[in-house]
């Protein structure tokens, strides 16, 4: 029995070690640049970090990232001035763009379309509208110098709160020894990424016992009363955010997909003179896939369509930039 237990234990250790080496050699794990909350309460990445983001179990998406001086993934540093024409794009992971090489980001594509522009991508995974407006408000000095601001709004997720509060707990948790260990042991980082640790996490947190079968969900239209209630709440949050942080209508535009945005919200924007760029038509008419095959983020083509949408808007507003 002793021999069995000892040998089993040794084999497990040896297999784990071999797997750790394999995961490192083939870079199956993804790197997650460290996060922090700055003196304004803005959550961002620690500047000057670079690495490789990997998606899918078998390296299906593999791209480089580079965190710039401002703490965002971008091919350029952000140095706004009154002399140049700058465009800021704020948003969540769709704008942060870890899914594609940072040299081929939306901002870069816009600069390729309009060479006289500098595009600053203020993207951060998990940002909602509260994060974005708080960022713009906190860095008012910089944003005053920026000529146009595009705010990406994912209606379903981004209007769930009416005021921003920094999540210090999460940052503290990410800095805990357990998470540090996860980042150091690449096999753990890989396992965590592909979801193999999810059942264990659920079990440890007791959630495994609370899981109930939800049953089959159909694509039925959402209950209209519930949808109305949600719209009201989201609109209320939107108003609250604008009131708290301001919204410069002369140079700020929402970027959204009208297929996934409530009509009541769009009507409100139209009434209040809040401009929005709707990319739904371009996506709908696209003959090529617009999202990555492993998750829902935009692929290269999707990003091209987004950059086209923004470029067309800029060129329409500033015809002189066409040269």
């Amino acid at each position: 029995m002793k021999k069995f237990i000892l040998k089993t234990f040794l084999y497990i250790i040896a297999i784990l070690l071999a797997l750790e080496i394999t995961v490192r050699v083939f870079h199956l794990y993804t790197e997650d640049p460290p996060r922090y909350i700055d003196e304004y309460g803005v959550e961002k990445r620690v500047p000057r970090n670079n690495g490789i983001a990997v998606y899918g179990n078998r390296n299906q998406a593999y791209s480089e990232f580079d965190i710039n001086n401002a703490g965002f993934n971008s091919f350029r540093d952000f140095l706004p001035s009154y002399e140049k024409f700058e465009l800021a794009i704020t948003g969540d992971s769709f704008i942060e763009g870890f899914h594609q090489n940072y040299q081929n980001s939306i901002g870069k594509k816009i600069e390729n379309n309009i060479p006289s522009i500098e595009a600053y991508e203020y993207g951060y995974a998990g940002y909602d509208l509260a994060n974005q407006l708080h960022l713009i408000h906190s860095y008012k000095k910089d944003f005053d110098k920026i000529d146009e601001i595009i705010v990406y709004l994912n209606y379903e997720n981004d209007l769930k709160r009416g005021v921003y509060t920094p999540n210090y707990e999460r940052i503290k948790m990410l800095k805990s020894p357990l998470f540090k260990m996860r980042d150091q042991i690449k096999l753990l980082a890989y396992g965590s990424k592909i979801g193999v640790l999810e059942p264990i996490k659920k079990f440890v947190s007791g959630k495994a016992f609370q899981d109930k079968e939800e049953g089959y969900k159909t694509n039925e239209i959402e209950n209209s009363d519930l949808a109305k209630e949600k719209d009201q709440l989201y609109l209320q949050n939107f108003k609250s955010l604008i009131k708290h942080y301001g919204f410069d209508k002369t140079k700020t535009v929402l970027l959204l997909d009208s297929r996934k945005t409530s009509k009541a919200f769009l009507d409100y924007c139209a009434r209040e003179g809040i401009a929005y760029l709707d990319f739904s038509e371009k996506f709908k008419n696209s003959k090529k896939a617009t999202t990555l095959i492993y998750d829902w983020h935009w692929n290269d083509h999707g990003r091209s369509l987004i950059s086209e949408t923004i470029s067309e808007y800029i060129l329409a507003k500033y015809p002189s930039m066409k040269q």
């Binding site: 069995f4 040896a14 297999i15 592909i194 079990f203």
Partner: protein, 483 residues
């Protein structure tokens, strides 16, 4: 409790520890911990299921004694019928009742009378009911046919019925094999336990890598068959063949491996059925515990092949139709069984049904002959064709699936529903087939290599394969649990 769950990951070492360190005194204490663990394992789904298994255990324990002590053959037969009636009633109520009612309503409706199905029951199918009822029935049948003597040790009998590794999806054991081992004190064997762990690892590979990674593709193709061309539909059913094999044989390997950890040898349930050279050989290699059950307790009592050819053919039809019906209360399974009878009968009439009983493809050479490859491919095609009925939700869907293959006989590139590269899965399957061919003579020793280093590399490869193909979103239940 699923084998592929965190709960089981904690459960197994705990029970293993208690079994070999705390309850090791004698067979009774060992059986007590097996009973407790097995009831916990089974009750994890729903504690009410335990009442059924307890009922089945109690009835067959008593009936076994009665059959044995009956003074006349008639009395003995009567007691046997009590067991058969009780166990089939459990199946009848929980598995087949609604099917019979619905079929009756449909029959009446097709005759022009409109009646509403108000008699159907809202009950769930207890996990593995077909497996343990057949196991307890086999005990009574074996006593009746004087193959075994009834046990007076109730603890052993409860452990025999409820033994958790094989409780919910087999192998369906016989008292002569399992009960005889359970009655004796088990002594730890290093080789047996390490063989068990290896089988468990291989079983997990088959389940998590082969079955679970193919499941989304198969589900997508069968759910949307009306929109796909022939190439995709053929792909779908071929992949289903591998999915169901990986799922069920994976489960059996984990079950046999787990039993080995407790010093118990279960019968083999799969012997590489995909390398069968005719349908008869296929049934000697696929779900062996069920096919031998039907042979021993139905086919042979009906006369087997020792009666006239015509009666033998009748017997073959009966066992295949009953076997189909055993799988589920749906005409699709009965049709599936009927198809296999049709495939089997010509082999039987040509006298080739026992031709490959004791040998395997490439028996005396490293590579199979071209003739063997052709035969294997032909058998695979037949079996896979029948799986259209096995997998489709209704007969109408199955026939529409086949019609769609002939109506849209064209090739189109298939795109994975989640967008994964299909080539990854094709490479995986080819590697799996080649590996299984390499180990084709050793279904209980999947890592049968002399070099320690090669074995170690294969262990690493297997675990790496599990990680590379792990899919968080797949329903991890086993297909055969529904039976």
């Amino acid at each position: 409790m699923l084998f592929n769950s965190v709960e089981f990951l904690l459960f197994l070492p705990t029970v293993f520890f208690l079994y070999w360190f705390v309850f090791k005194k004698n067979a009774t204490t060992q059986n007590l911990i097996i009973i407790l663990a097995s009831y916990l394992f089974y009750g994890w789904w729903d504690w009410r299921f335990l009442l059924l298994i307890m009922g089945s255990t109690l009835v067959d324990f008593i009936v076994g004694q009665k059959i044995y002590t009956a003074e006349t053959k008639k009395q003995s037969k009567l007691w046997l019928w009590v067991s058969v009636f009780f166990n089939l009633s459990l199946l009848g109520v929980f598995k087949y009742y609604n099917f019979f009612v619905d079929s009756f309503v449909q029959l009446v409706s097709s005759a022009g009378y409109e009646i509403k199905s108000i008699w159907t029951l809202s009950i769930i199918l207890p996990v593995g009911i077909s497996f343990y009822t057949f196991q307890t029935m086999s005990y009574s049948l074996d006593i009746y046919y004087k193959r075994v003597k009834p046990t007076k040790d109730f603890t052993s009998f409860v452990a025999f019925v409820a033994f958790f590794p094989q409780l919910v999806a087999g192998p369906i054991e016989r008292a002569s094999n399992l009960l005889s081992q359970i009655k004796e004190k088990r002594i730890f064997s290093y080789r047996q336990a390490s063989d068990g762990l290896k089988l468990i690892l291989w079983g997990f590979f088959k389940k998590l890598v082969i079955a679970d990674s193919l499941a989304p593709v198969v589900d997508d193709i069968f759910a949307n068959y009306a929109t796909y061309p022939a190439s995709t539909l053929i792909l779908g059913v071929c992949l289903f063949s591998f999915q169901v094999y990986g799922d069920f044989s994976g489960y059996s390997d984990i079950a046999i491996g787990t039993a080995k950890l407790f010093g118990i040898e279960l019968m083999s349930n799969f012997k590489f059925p995909n390398f069968s050279r005719n349908v008869a050989e296929y049934w000697q290699r696929w779900h062996i515990s069920l096919s031998t059950w039907f042979r021993h307790y139905l086919y042979i009592p009906l006369g087997g092949s020792r009666v006239s050819k015509l009666k033998s053919v009748r017997n073959i039809c009966i066992i295949f139709l009953v076997s189909g019906f055993w799988h589920g209360a749906n005409w699709t399974f009965i049709f599936w069984g009927g198809l296999h009878a049709l495939f089997f009968i010509p082999v039987f009439l040509m006298g080739k049904n026992r031709l490959y009983k004791d040998n395997v493809i490439g028996q005396s050479s490293a590579l199979p002959s071209i003739k063997e490859v052709g035969m294997v491919l032909w058998t695979f095609c037949l079996v896979t064709f029948s799986r259209i009925f096995f997998r489709s939700p209704s007969l109408q869907d199955a026939f529409s699936y086949i019609r769609q293959i002939s109506d849209r006989f064209s090739y189109e590139n298939y795109v994975h529903p989640m967008g994964y590269r299909m080539i990854d899965f094709y490479i995986l399957l080819v590697a799996f087939i080649l590996y299984e061919y390499r180990i084709r003579k050793h279904e209980r020793s999947p890592f049968n290599f002399k070099s320690k280093w090669i074995r170690f590399l294969i262990y690493v490869g297997v675990v790496l394969g599990i990680l590379l193909f792990y899919d968080d979103g797949v329903n991890r239940s086993f297909i055969y649990f529904q039976f």
